[in-house]
Every structure is written in structure tokens, then in C-alpha cells.
Symmetry: C3
Subunit: 140 residues, 3 copies
């Protein structure tokens, strides 16, 4: 069994949800060397998130942004962590609800996602800048 | 270290939360060959979820269904992704909140869950049909 | 590739969110033997959670407690699982929203977390007692 690791920076994305499946596959050739295994994608930030959801229809990603903005409000009077901007504390909470990593089976050199599944970056800051991902793949 | 992978379909479940721990153990004999390792259970869908929670009392699973139906409402006027039915966009959001996979330690050929822990399938569609799981186990 | 596993009990924490990164690193020397790999931290309970979030400012952890107490209310009239106290059913729901495990890359014998990232224990019961963690690390 072999293991590979690769760190890289995404381009800066605007606030919202973005499909990054193809970027991951393009960046990390090691996936193609694994017949049976797994890929973890880990984001080294606490105000952006990774999750898996529907890939063909961009309105799903818009509805995600609208739902999470209503569920995790800016400027709640009880927030004490407020000195980095009104989008900051909600970004931490959204990241915790959605998750810091995804773990995907690899089969015959490809990510074994369902036909409608894609990897979402959740950019929860107004100006999050470039985000760093650590990719680790292992298997036979 | 060895790695094993197995894909199978669950029977169709009604909307709600369902215990599938025993189904997983029965389907995947490779777990019993591993002394120290891990099992990932991955669901290839974006409107159903996997999580771990209390296994003995079915009212917990009922309260999960009631909580998530109130937290992620159907027919929100801001949903744009609405052409697959009123249960569809909430199902995508519930799946993102709960997760697409669980990762469980294996110890001495058994899932090393806490005594009260079981694997939940969250079926978030009214008629989700059969769901496909990819099981991957690795270890010594 | 090698794999290591270690089970231990945390000290009892009060209800709220607590940083446990250093405890994990101190308890599990195997991390230092791995050049490229991963660590899973798994909690064997259904009313406490593990997640990753901002480590330097304790007000973030306070805001987490306040947010989750408002989002998952005690004494909802529709709860049927209520015989273990008003904090119990909310604890199960919070644990499901936040997660039962974290998975962290290891690079050169260290957890490869972002500079602001730490591992949070979410203690969701008023008197949760000592919680058991199963640590599994693998890699080259």
C-alpha cells in the first residue's frame, strides 16, 4: 500500500459555494495510480469548508448560500468574537456545520463519487483570499 | 497493511433515520480480517446522509426527523432549486449538515463503536429508492 | 505503511467547547513516527462531538456554545426522547451536526493543521463525565 500527499492553493473565490472536483483531480496525479483506496481533502482554514453535494445545477449552490446565511446570521447580539468583521463569526460556525474535510473512495484510478456528486468549497468570508488544501491519497 | 472495498445497495427505506450498523457488518466480511484499522462508509447520493448516533431508543431517530424538518423547511420562498419536489432541496441541505460518510475504528475484527453508538442512514427524500454505499476498510 | 491505535479517556470537561489538540499530541507518540499519513480522532459517545476550529481566541468557543444552544433548543415540545434530562436530546442533535470524528493530515511527524486550527471537544451534556477517544494513525 502506498500513500501520497500534496499541498496546494486554490485561486481566490468569492463568498459562496463552488465546485472544485476537477481542480482536485487535475492537481493530484497520484489518484490515477491507485486501484483501491481513498482520498482525503483537508482545508487548513476555519472560515471556509468542504462538503459533497449536487454538481449539475448551480441553483443548488445558490440555495446553500441563502440557507446558511439565514441559519447562521451576521451581527447576532450575543457574538463576542466580532472584531474581524460581521462575516467572521458566522464563517467559523458555517465551517463547523459543514466540515473541514471530505473523504472519497478511489476505484480504478478515479474518485468513486456518485453521478450527481461534486466537491464543494464553501467560502464563507467576503474576502477569504486563496485557501490551502492538503490532499492525501492511499491504497493499492 | 491490506485494503478492501465493497459496493452494495441498501433496501429502499422510508423518509427518516434508520439504523444500518448490522447491515454493514453483515455485508462486509473484510472487517473481521482486520486487527487494527478503519472502515469508511460512503454514500453515493446527495439527498441522503450517514451519521453516528444513539442506537437503542427509536424515539431519538424520530426526534432527529422532527428536528431536521423544522430546521430545514420545505417550500422556502428563496429556494431556486425546486423542480424535483418540495422535499428535494431540504434533502440536499440535510445531507450537507449530517455528512456523506462515517469513519469508524476497527479493533480485533470488529467496529470499535461506543456501546450506545450505531450508524444512521438519513433518508431525506419521500421516495429515495435504493441507496448505494461504498465500504472501504484498511489496516493490519 | 504502518498503523497505530490508542484509546484513552479525556478528563471530565464542563459543558461547552474545549481545545484538546495538545492532549492528543501528548497522548499519542505514534504521530511523531509518521512522515506522511493521517490521524483519526474518534469519540465513542453520542452526546459529545469533535470538530476543528479557531484556536487562539476563547470567545469563538463561547460563541459556539451560544449559537448551538439557540439552534438546538432544550425542551422542544415535540421531543419524545426526554427522560435523560433536558440537555440530552439537544446533545445528540449537536453531536450529529458537528460530527463524531476529525481526520487530520500528518506531515513530518506533526499534525498538519493550519496555523489557526485546533481540535475542539464539544461537551454537550451538563455532566458528561470522562469521554473516551480512539486515536488511529497510519502512514509511512
Amino acid at each position: 500500500m502506498a500513500i501520497f500527499q500534496h499541498t496546494f492553493q486554490l485561486p481566490a473565490y468569492p463568498r459562496g459555494f463552488h465546485l472544485i472536483t476537477q481542480t482536485i483531480e487535475r492537481e493530484f496525479g497520484a489518484i490515477r495510480q491507485i486501484r483501491v483506496g481513498l482520498l482525503q481533502v483537508f482545508i487548513q482554514h476555519t472560515s471556509a469548508s468542504l462538503t459533497i453535494n449536487e454538481n449539475p445545477d448551480p441553483t443548488v449552490r445558490g440555495d446553500f448560500e441563502r440557507f446558511f446565511n439565514r441559519t447562521v446570521r451576521e451581527n447576532e447580539p450575543y457574538y463576542e468574537h466580532d472584531y474581524e468583521g460581521s462575516d467572521d463569526m458566522p464563517a467559523h460556525l458555517k465551517a463547523a456545520l459543514l466540515g473541514h474535510s471530505v473523504l472519497i473512495p478511489i476505484t480504478n484510478g478515479r474518485l468513486n463519487l456518485g453521478i450527481w456528486q461534486g466537491v464543494y468549497l464553501g467560502e464563507h468570508r467576503n474576502n477569504g483570499g486563496r485557501r490551502t488544501l492538503v490532499l492525501t491519497a492511499w491504497g493499492d
